[in-house]
Symmetry: none
DNA sequence: GTGGTCTAGACCACT
DNA sequence: GTGGTCTAGACCACG
């Protein structure tokens, strides 16, 4: 259960944590009951302020994605309807809409933008084949 | 030479201005020597503070994209390598890399992410055909 | 880490700050990682507006000389080629070129101009001996 | 009687004109009675606003360096005690004091700063020999 | 505590 | 007319 934190990013650190949890839970990669790293462990690992981690965990708890098990730390909550393709695409859509707006302002052709996106996906190890049958999301976009 | 300002956006107003100028110059839609709207005019048009516009203009001047004609206003600077496809893709890449990282964290298949992106591009009016021969960028991604 | 601000100077305050940081970093007197005074502290110390200080810091951040540690303050960025003689002379050159042009327009002899410059250097405490061996720049002009 | 105007300089155009006249008169290169280029000729030659030239001329007239000969344009006024070395060095001193202050902040050695200045003087054609005996200034700095 | 953003208004310099 | 600078004060986001 690893986080990737970039202190230099424009995105606030607490928000990076929140969204990474959201995405990993939505995709089923992190499952109900699994323990998250402790606040101070995560803070020390990435040399960030424990308050920052705590704030992220609290937001996720308020959202219902995490549960506080006293004495044990935080665990992934038991969210019922996880796993479909649609909710995951819904999480991805905002950034793609923004990208499309920028492409329009740059007067690019769709073909060029998509070729660039394909390369980015490859570089991030996003496979093109069908998902693992174990995986919860097997649907396809119409 | 129109700007689209959304005061409600999370992106600061001055930054919206900066990035719109960057993209329009990179795409060759705004050419060297063209005059920008005056600080006061742009501020009044969008009901924002002149200082906010001035801040954006100053940053663009420091960046070398704009030139100050003293007593006359700002004009697009004579930046040589205008128009090619590569610089425009370079401006688009960061957001697409971020999107790819999110897709990976969501455990999506490349095919699904690309289908969604295609829809977003369509909704923003990004054409798929070859660019207008008048347009400066006619290259293609290898 | 002290600044010398002269509100009465023709040079804008924010620019005085910017250039002093540039020179102190170029000379190695201020090193990567060192914290700058907070916006509010520097503003209060010199009885100027925090926005003025903030503007200077923002420009230096855009230039890459400073880094923002969110919630903590600004620190000198880790700019690699610190300390050599050449970059410092490069910062001094513009004013000396201007002085030389003026000397030419005044139809002065080089000897006289240099004698005057020598006196100015002495009055500003610029030593003539070799630099401290601890100091980063030990080279000499060819 | 040529002017060198740089619209991109930080120094205002009208001030460039004023100071160039001051220096050429102080050095005796421009003598009493000589005619200056007309406002519109100078403006057209350097592609600047005639108002800017006019402002410079007016300042110089107020200062007593120029005289307005109706119907003939401006001529150099008959300033009595021009020519000594001292007043010319006085005009050069401010920029050299500024250069010395910058050298101090850059932690430079006097030797290096002076070597750079020598090169600048050479590049601007400032001779090292004694001045022409015709020239008004023959003194030497003690 | 830190800096960022925006507003409002004043004054200046340049053309 | 143009933009630049500075002040004063408010509010926000982050740690």
């Amino acid at each position: 259960m690893r986080f990737s934190i970039q202190a230099s990013s424009a995105e606030p650190i607490y928000r990076q944590i929140v969204e990474q949890v959201r995405r990993h839970v939505a995709s089923g990669q992190w499952k109900a009951g699994e323990e998250l790293p402790s606040v101070r462990a995560l803070a020390q690992e990435h040399a960030i302020n424990p308050m920052t981690v705590s704030k992220a965990y609290s937001l996720l708890e308020a959202e219902g994605l995490l549960e506080r098990r006293r004495g044990l730390g935080m665990v992934i909550a038991d969210v019922r309807p996880r796993g479909g393709l649609a909710p995951r695409l819904a999480l991805l859509e905002p950034v793609l809409r923004s990208a499309a707006r920028q492409a329009a302002e740059l007067d690019l052709r769709a073909h060029d933008a998509q070729a660039l996106f394909a390369r980015c996906l490859r570089e991030h190890g996003v496979a093109d084949g069908p998902p693992d049958p174990e995986s919860p999301g097997t649907g396809r976009l119409p």
